[in-house]
Amino acid sequence: MSTTKNGDDHERFDGDVAAYVLDALEGTEVRQFEEHLEHCDQCQSELAPMRAAVEGLPAGAPVRGAPPDLKDRVMAAVRAEAPRQAPKKQARHWPIARPRLVASATAAAAAVAVAIVLVLGGGNSTRIYEGVVHAPGASASLRQSGSSAELRVSRVPPPPQGRIYEVWLKRGARAPQPAGTLFANGTGTVSVPGNLSGVQAMLVTSEPRPNGSRTPTRAPIIVVRLS
């Protein structure tokens, strides 16, 4: 019987390295094996080659190209969350004085969310931020007046079955925080509670009914930049 540095018998865990790297151990077996692994030279020596073998398995799956719109959705979310100080393609290639353009719902425009800010007259300054909606013919805008804000949506398709739209507020490098607003109608106005101070962007994603999620699980269908 082979023994390990701490006296554990290796034979008790013989064969467990493979099951471990294949994630085929159950419940407490994982922790027990990891404790054994820490002191077992023999298991440690098998760990690297077996892990390398498992890392090769994904390449054995039948090849399927990811749908192009999947990339659009992923990168729209990434760019919406990217810190503002990050270098952007347009900033490197367009003249500084070039006016910012209103984004359409095309895939190319969807990659970079652009907002138009209108400052209306009157005692209470009102700002309207035009958002980008990743749906043909749809539009969305955020109207901020004092401490209140409303999201106006038009012709946004209904959320997928079993899901509801949830509003998120993005500040700096932090993960988007739920704004507590849920809606299912693709046309109408919903209030966005909370202080918008420091909010970099407002996002809308479809989340499971009835209460939404704690963190976004889908790429946003609406992105409104506030800064």
């Binding site: 085929a24 890392e55 799956a61 992923v74 393609k89 900033a91 790429a219």
Partner: protein
Amino acid sequence: MSPALRIRSPRTGSGSPAGLHRRSDRELLALACEGDADAFELIYDRHSTVAYSLAHRICGRRGLAEDVVQEAFLSLWRRRDRYDAGRGEVRSWLLQIVHNSAIDKLRRSDVHERRRASAEGIEDELEAPDRPDEEVEQHEQATVVRRVLEALPDEQRRVVELAYFYGLSHRQIAEQLEQPVGTIKGRMRLALLKLHGQLTAAQDPVAGVKVRR
């Protein structure tokens, strides 16, 4: 000189789109940590095909596979500052996220869903979709890995597939195959050691299997 030409990126040279392509995954992720979405987009371009292929192989359905891949890349983006190069390649980390998420979705689906997913997967196989150029490399890697897998004795290949692609534990596999648990573990061990040996031997054509970018 136009204003555009006076603008200099902090990534001048290697930071240009062409320069980014020469960067390793680790370097791209480091740039992504600084907020560079372009660098992250290149990571997506490099690994989305294998990620989607793996998700589809496990879930068997397009919709679920899309959800898995989307969640995995966003998870990679949101946790990019936690990457530990000492624990493996960026690609391995990403595919681990994809695998865990896909298996989790598979385990949560009921038997009926699994069967339906399997049927849809077969239909997809029959569709024989066109493969654009960027998938050719991945296709070549898949061919090599499948050849190595098929060279394994059936009983060894089966336990690896049931564990990795179906998310079954060693006990579940033992029950399904009506074999002792010790036998199943032994087959797993032999299979993985052979896989490692043969993949290493085929290192050149399978360079992409490890993709040490």
